[in-house]
Subunit: 237 residues, 2 copies
């Protein structure tokens, strides 16, 4: 796949419906991208892909460096990331990052963005999903038991995407970011952050979206996959 | 692109918002598929792609064989079609075709289907959109002036797709079929049909979806692209 195109396996509505037993080896996902996020079988932990390295950020606070050949993902979004615009700027938090991306890409409302931000975080709140208690347990229930962690004065990297409104349900409309510390020991799905001083932002506008659906997957085939926009905003917003 | 994958340029919600001034040469679309449907600049007529040949079916009843190098499309969906299942059967009409596809592909509710049907139609009703009266005129308004034609005792081909519910707005959820006569002189977007005797159906289940968004297109960038599910069902159902 070319640089700066989105590759996605399965859809967010499938996770909402608890479709997370099967998937594809992460090595298959890495053929299409070196930067992204996702989850693992049974929604155990949060996935972050940084420079082709894959980490599982677990609810107990631990981070596991993943072997992509032997680990399966039921949902992931990646790109072969080559930032087209970079900026050194003060970013006060999630809303500040949103504003900055709007100013960096004024014509991207209906396109995708891939984003990376590196810096020192005075405070960052993340959540990690602990996983399903039973097959087909939906993401809202899984996330009702999510663990949250707050890290202070850590250096690290944000990886994520902005998706246009019209893919809500297929992916998450809006900004969706995961975080990992520079030492790769802590991280999760970002709820809020604060920075002090300049951070480095790199981003690219993406106009090609490739979706691979689960095949031969009874859970996926049987799911209703109705759009649960409020539920998605609650757990992924 | 491999056989039996979906390639799509732009999204149906863009047509709903009247984004139809610009696009890409149809030759670019044919690189990804030999079978499909779409529209032309300013929504003038209905597009059908049969075995890599492209036809514009116009509101005056005429059909034009298109030069793909010099003609632009603002929206098209194609696949490199290789039917995996074929059947000779009696098909009473649109509902009968829907039932037959359900029985041919019992596990495809959340996947795409590409469909072709060849036979003699005792009666077939089609519509053709005459085009926008002004830039950004939306598809509901364009189709409020659609022309309908009824052909009787014609031999011809149906080409189209079934899309899963969760891509409503990106494409058309459900069945979407265009028709052209064997002599390539008549056709349009199918409203209803009747057959008498067996027809030949070929179809394939598609698990990969590739979407290319318009880039450098101010109309697309400025459109709100809100989901108008009822409007889409009205004009494309």
């Amino acid at each position: 796949m070319a640089f700066n195109e989105v590759f996605q396996y399965s859809i967010v509505s499938a996770l909402m419906d608890g479709v997370a037993t099967h998937g594809i080896p992460i090595a298959r996902v890495l053929e299409h991208g070196d930067h992204g996020l996702g989850t693992f079988r049974n929604m155990v932990g949060e996935m972050i892909v940084v420079e082709s390295e894959v980490y599982q950020m677990k609810a107990d606070g631990s981070v596991v460096h993943i072997d992509p050949e032997t680990t399966i993902t039921p949902f992931a979004t990646v790109t072969r990331f080559r930032p087209t615009t970079t900026k050194k700027a003060a970013v006060s938090g999630k809303a500040g990052l949103e504003d900055l991306l709007n100013s960096m890409f004024p014509k991207a409302r209906n396109h995708f963005l891939a984003v990376r931000m590196d810096g020192v975080f005075t405070k960052i709140n993340v959540r990690t999903a602990g996983g399903q208690l039973k097959p087909r347990e939906g993401m809202v229930d899984v996330c009702s038991r999510q663990t949250t962690h707050t890290f202070e004065a850590v250096k690290g990297t944000i990886v994520g995407f902005r998706c246009p409104e019209y893919v809500m349900g297929v992916n998450v409309a809006g900004d969706h970011f995961h975080f990992i510390t520079e030492d790769r020991q802590r991280g999760g799905h970002i709820l809020a952050f604060e920075t002090d001083g300049d951070v480095e932002i790199g981003a690219a506008q993406l106009s090609n979206f490739h979706l691979e659906l689960p095949s031969e997957d009874e859970e996926f085939n049987e799911a209703t996959l109705k759009l649960q926009a409020q539920g998605i905003k609650k757990v992924e917003g």
